[in-house]
Symmetry: C2
């Protein structure tokens, strides 16, 4: 088993908001920057952009720029990014099965 491979794998997902972003994009398909901002209350612009850039760099998220006067940028999961969602769903299921009470202590 390539345990060392998981490092690189998970480093792409490390980041306080990446999963949240991915879930929102998976849930709603395509979102503009401001929509993401509103969808994720706790995050600041800088961090949001930062995480988006990293996700983009890693090929998980795609960024579509519309060259308009009021700027419009849309984010969505790449095909590959979408393929990760089953895994995340499993992860969610798993957390839901936590024995000692699933309260977020």
């Amino acid at each position: 088993m390539a345990a060392s491979g998981i490092e690189t794998a998970l480093r792409m997902l490390e980041g306080r908001w990446k999963m949240v972003i991915i879930f929102h994009l998976f849930d709603r398909g395509t979102l503009r920057f401001s929509e993401l901002e509103r969808a994720i209350p706790g995050v600041s612009q800088k961090v949001l952009i930062n995480q988006l850039r990293e996700l983009e760099k890693d090929g998980i998220v795609e960024r579509q720029v519309y060259p308009q006067v009021p700027p419009k940028v849309e984010y969505k999961l790449s095909a590959w990014g979408e393929q990760m969602c089953p895994a995340l769903d499993l992860l969610l299921e798993w957390t839901a099965q936590r024995p000692q009470g699933n309260a977020e202590t």
Copy 2:
């Protein structure tokens, strides 16, 4: 979809080495501290212990202490922790399918 739930979920797995630890424990069943140390070259004792403690606190890993003169402590996945492995496997599969070349650039 509980996108906010994923935050708490993944925060348990955040940590440079947690996944690696989990994979090793899943792979080899039970490991002593020194064995984990050797299995994971890049990690320092302090961090390794730290991550183990957090995993233990979150109920993912179980710690078995044998009160002996040469101390012996074994770590293994809890039943719940083992249930996470399918998800991690999916995640690994997913990373293996990376389109733009799965090199860790």
